[in-house]
Subunit: 142 residues, 2 copies
């Protein structure tokens, strides 16, 4: 069954994100937006279905998220979740463990790029449990 | 007289861009969106009033533009102008001379970041003449 993806931003949605599916709970879509190796500022749009989030992870170069549509969540270890809406920017320092994704009831799209893209590596960890995810959703609804 | 700036994106408009005004024809506004030096992916929203464009210039690290609102123009030396709308991305390779700005009749906002931000330098050149600017506007209206 094909999912009907609502238009929540002006950026392309791309294809179902099968390459990273093993690190996500739920379905996501990936649209690479850059290709110039001499510039080397990789940018992609990531779209999450409601309830979808990625595993806990970190980046050796850090990551910048630019929210372009819907509503989402961002959380670092031992910190409260942050409620994300279009126009928000998240600066994730190198090696900080975190996760991001849609809220339970909204689609969500963010652009993403990395610091030090020539050497950045991603470190993928365990899935975000339903308990942690539900707690984050409850926290932002208060 | 204060200019009334229409809301054309979800990102903040910031303050009038006086620091770079000497390199612009017309008024622009600048909103820095990042501050984390350990991540070091500088991102800002630049908003141009109708008719506003920056001088011909280049970046030693190159530049990435992410269009978030309105309609604009991008042109490299000896190339046709590109018509920009929300959802477009422009990859500008290092040292390529170019200019960008609003169309004659539309406000315009893009996010901007640079390649190799730790060493990037901007090289500012001559203003875009009215003739070149009008030709670019006419070209995209065809």
């Amino acid at each position: 069954m094909n999912t009907v993806i609502p238009k929540i931003s002006d950026f392309p949605t791309g294809e179902e994100n099968t390459a990273y599916a093993q690190y996500f709970t739920g379905k996501s879509w990936l649209a690479p937006l850059t290709s110039d190796k001499t510039l080397n500022v990789p940018l992609a749009n990531v779209t999450f279905e409601p309830g979808c989030r990625n595993n806990w992870h970190s980046h050796t170069g850090g990551q910048l998220l630019i929210v372009v549509g819907g509503e989402g969540l961002y959380q670092e270890r031992d910190k409260p979740a942050r409620h994300l809406k279009a126009g928000d920017v998240v600066e994730i320092a190198p090696n900080v463990e975190h996760w991001h994704g849609a809220t339970a009831h909204s689609w969500f799209s963010h652009l993403a790029t990395n610091g030090s893209p020539e050497s950045n590596e991603n470190k993928w960890l365990e899935p975000v449990t339903d308990e942690v995810y539900q707690a984050a959703n409850q926290q932002i609804s208060k």
